[in-house]
Subunit: 403 residues, 2 copies
Amino acid sequence: MGNVIVAQSGGPTVAINASLAGVIEGAIASKYDKIYGSINGILGIKDDNVIDLGQIVDSDPSFLSKLKTTPAMYLGSCRFKLPSADSGDPIYDLLFKQFEKYGIDAFFYIGGNDSMDTVDKLSAYAKTIDSHIRFVGIPKTIDNDLCVTDHTPGFGSASKYIATTTMEVIYDAQIYNSPSVTIIEVMGRDAGWLTAATSLARNEYCCGPDLIYLPEVPFNTEVFVNDLSRLLKEKTNIVVAVSEGIRDAKGEYISASTGQLDQFGHAQLSGAGKTLEYLVKDRLGIKCRSIEVNVLQRAAAHISSLTDIEESVLLGKNGVKFAEEGITGVMVIVKRVSNAPYTVEYSHATIHDIANEAKEVPKEWINADHNWVTDEMLEYLKPLVLGEPTLEYKNGLPVYVQR
Amino acid sequence: MGNVIVAQSGGPTVAINASLAGVIEGAIASKYDKIYGSINGILGIKDDNVIDLGQIVDSDPSFLSKLKTTPAMYLGSCRFKLPSADSGDPIYDLLFKQFEKYGIDAFFYIGGNDSMDTVDKLSAYAKTIDSHIRFVGIPKTIDNDLCVTDHTPGFGSASKYIATTTMEVIYDAQIYNSPSVTIIEVMGRDAGWLTAATSLARNEYCCGPDLIYLPEVPFNTEVFVNDLSRLLKEKTNIVVAVSEGIRDAKGEYISASTGQLDQFGHAQLSGAGKTLEYLVKDRLGIKCRSIEVNVLQRAAAHISSLTDIEESVLLGKNGVKFAEEGITGVMVIVKRVSNAPYTVEYSHATIHDIANEAKEVPKEWINADHNWVTDEMLEYLKPLVLGEPTLEYKNGLPVYVQR
């Protein structure tokens, strides 16, 4: 058999390099010959920016184990959308000539919706020219909003980071004996999965966030102020988790007025957290702070989930296996078999069923008051954050693979 | 001998509970009898909000080890400034009656400048009434701006978190092959120590931040834009670390205009990071993102420095030892003996020498271009972030002591 090529695309997660390691391990164990990596997504194939991953593995015995816990994307990313497969666009001819040049039998694309769209189009085009090349997508997104798969690689690690962060913010918020509200704004424009993960911070030693608001249900500022007022009669320091994507009943984002310009003439738009901070100060007149969980929610490899990392490796390995079996135009998926003990199996699904639909949090996993999650959500989340990879440290910092 | 009482005050750090554990361990091994904890700083003594820490240790064998890596403040905090010791204020009479009631021979206050001020005043008052009670301060501040001591507990862990975060942000920033600037804003209004710690992210596998700006030298936006333009000719993705406290030559903070009001009528003030983000977009017209490192820089116990934790424990223990020796009105300090191997010794200093002066980064530890740090700074920082405490995890999250 011929060679394989693998690329990464879209935004980073902590687990996307684990899937790359899985593809490499799978390919080493397969009938395939060389393992190429394309730099900056599919652009590397187009522009001959291709590296020999097998050579790198041979030259550094610790490469694969370090790669599994290295954040972001070893091969770099791109934002490149292919024209439709029947467009007659010369890019297809170019790409398939390049595949031929590198002797490619299978192409693996680790990414989100756009990357799956690319896999879909390349496999459709391959069909029209009777190409033997297999195209397999391997998912990743911290947002967990892909359909068909039980969950997405990167979500478990992001959840672990967010739950830990929430817990530490709660400890921080509780030190003074005077009323305060702390608002944690979590990523997730349309789906509340990551915000829901803050619920994991409620356990036998931490009270957890007091209120959780997801974008799947309308947000009402009056109800929010009432929720806070009621709680402030019972406890001193309130911690609230909100999704960046919360919207009012009309579907408008909760954000501060955009009418003002800064000194450089740019419109100022405050996000949900900052806007609610102003609201609390204004309406309740108490100390309030908002915290925007930054890009670390997708990059904090120093506290990734072992479950997430191991599954991501296996998704990559299974991708190679499916390609070997002649399967093409699919995305590898995880199916949850049971919660306790937590077991999953790996399968594949036609990309057309996945790429055009976003998976929101089911309404029945949000409580009746729309300010917390149900036990079903907790049971769903719990296994995904389990386990800690063994990280190598040098000079006090985690060791990652050099880009 | 009688009993001891310990309290915590000021803002939290990751190491302040380690010092509490050190005081408890020191007191257990001492001639002192009971070990009381005062809730919410000195207010607990005033209001009879006092707990028996010895009892808690006896009832939970794992309490002390967990306490050492629990963030924030187990005993809670306060912001309470005593009137001058010769003011004749009745608070002194009240506090010393309370000390008598609890049979106190020594009082330990773990905190920052305000807490040291309290220790200073209580020991001065004790002198006037010939009290036998010893007053010992144990420092903490992530800002590292206390004089006399080589460094402060909490700074090493904050540095480790900030350096790791910087590294992960750099990995995240490098994925696209198009120009970008990422600005990381770090806490530190007057002292640049924490911002300087981002320099640790430069090692053999990570390029580190490209530019570092500290508040100790004037910040010039034109020079900043030039620094960026020059670098953008050499590399694609630039990462900049700035202190929240950077000021121009006139001493004005670098912040966006305060003239505008949000929808609730509050003046909007953007910090240094956001302001520079606008500037970069405006002047260079390229993608720019600013990240405010949030309260986790003082609360991220999940990635604390073992060196910091162990030293904090020893500071607490030494505090008890000094009190036993009859020393009062002092703060325990760390003296660095050597960098390689890193060795320290513990001593004490009169609080008057410490409380009224802030320790800034020496000008000679900032490079000539005012946009990075010197090797002396790196040698100073390196030992402080070394080592990782063994954390217990349960259900995927670090286990902390319940507050």
